[in-house]
Each structure stands twice: as C-alpha cells, then as structure tokens.
C-alpha cells in the first residue's frame, strides 16, 4: 500500500509539473506549440505504458489476456494520437477554419484513452499493477486537459 502511495505521489507530482510546463509558454502565438507538446507528452505516456505493461507481463503481474487487451487498446490510442499529431503538424495557424477538424481528431484520442482506461486498465486484477497503470493514464489525461482547455477558448477567425 505504501509503495503504491509513493508511486502515485511521484506520478501526481510529475503530472502537476507537466501542467506547469505548458503554462510557461505565454500568449496565443504559441498555441500550436502547446498542441505539439501535448501530442509529444501523450506519445511519451503511451510509450511509458507499453514498457510498464511489458514489465508487468514479464513478472506475471498481469495475465496474457490482460496484456493482450491492453496492447490492442494502446494500439488504438496510438493510432488516434498519430492522426492528431500528423494533422496538427500540417496546420500553420489554429483558427476557426480548422479547429472543428482538430477537435474531432482530438475527440478520437480522448475516447481511445478513455476506453484504454475503462476496458483495459480497470480490468487488471492485480491492484498494484492497476494503480500504477492508472497513474500513467493520469499523466496522459493531464496532457489532454491542456488541449481541451485550448479548444474551449474562442478561436480566431481566419484571415481572408
């Protein structure tokens, strides 16, 4: 129990710092950069989860069926994030002309991560493994929260 708490504390703090790293940027001009950072951190979170999943599987902390389920869901989340990253990358300015499309792509990422959590992580029997995987989901959610915040702001109208 103590171990889980320590790990959860670590990741929670990392998560909080992750949020701070986004706040340091400043004004509207670097909105695209914030999207890039968020995509990078989501990609890093998925990468972390793959490695932890492998470690747990190797140590028998999750079953083969649990690992298979997690793997399939991670693949889906990774594909959704790839589509999002590729599209944002091609955009020069984020404004009203593209925010709806980016919103849809981002919604796919959000739902894939939500499913990874509900159908994958929460189904893990080993409580400690579940708790650690949940912490990683929390870091990914923190990165996604930044994008949600950006999308909630009114977008500038495109210049003709």
């Amino acid at each position: 129990m103590k171990h889980s708490k320590t790990w959860a504390t670590c990741l929670t703090l990392v998560l909080a710092m992750l949020c701070l790293s986004f706040e340091c940027g400043g004004g509207d001009g670097d909105q695209r950069r914030k999207y890039a950072k968020a995509a990078d951190n989501i990609a890093g979170g998925i990468n972390t989860m793959i490695k932890v999943k492998r470690d747990f599987a190797q140590n028998g902390r999750i079953s083969a069926d649990e690992e298979r389920r997690l793997t399939e869901l991670l693949l889906r989340a990774n594909e959704a994030t790839t589509a999002f990253n590729n599209r944002v990358r091609t955009v020069t300015v984020i404004d009203a002309s593209n925010s709806a499309e980016l919103g849809n792509l981002f919604a796919s990422v959000t739902s894939a991560i939500a499913e990874l959590n509900s159908s994958g992580v929460l189904g893990v029997q080993n409580a400690d493994a579940k708790s650690k995987l949940s912490s990683i989901i929390a870091t990914i959610n923190a990165a996604m929260a930044i994008i949600s915040q950006l999308q909630a702001q009114p977008q500038p109208t495109p210049t003709p």
């Binding site: 710092m17 951190n41 470690d55 594909e79 870091t139």
Partner: protein, 90 residues
C-alpha cells in the same frame, strides 16, 4: 527551472516501489519523462512534432511486436478458431 529540480528530487523515491527489477524500470521511465519535458523547452515546435511522430511510430512497432508475441505464444485457454497459421511466407 524550478519544476525540474522538484522532479529530479523525486527520483530517489522511485526505488521504494515494488521489486528491484520493477524499481529499475520505473526509475528509467521517470527519467524518460523528465528528459522529454525538459528537452521541449530547447526544441523548436517542428522538432517537438517530429519527436512525437517518431515516438508514436516506435510505439506502433512495439505494440505490433507484442501482439505477435501474444498471439504466437497463446497457450491460454481457447481463443476461438484454432490455429492454421502457416501460410507460405518467404
């Protein structure tokens, strides 16, 4: 940066978790996260996008590798539809 100092100071806490092997993996992961966040400040936006793309590509390869391993090594009770697997690959 102040927040970097805080994260770095968290590292000694990581070995307190679980088994030794697990602690090593977790420490590595914490380091990777730190490196990733830290480096973002020194990268251009395009570089961040590019790294995200590379990580996602690497993720995909790792996951496909895992699926292959899991599907090849099955054993555990009954994924339906048995196993004609052969096919004539080159």
């Amino acid at each position: 940066m102040d927040w970097m100092t805080i994260i770095t100071n968290l590292l000694p806490l990581v070995p307190a978790t679980g088994s030794a092997g697990q602690a090593t993996v977790l420490a590595q992961l914490a380091l990777e996260l730190i490196t990733r966040i830290k480096s973002q400040t020194g990268m251009t936006t395009e570089q961040i996008f590019e790294r995200a793309g590379l990580t996602l590509e690497q993720n995909k390869l790792m996951l496909l590798e895992d699926l292959e391993r899991l599907n090849a090594g099955t054993g555990s009770g009954g994924s339906s539809g048995g196993g004609s697997g052969g096919g004539g690959g080159n």
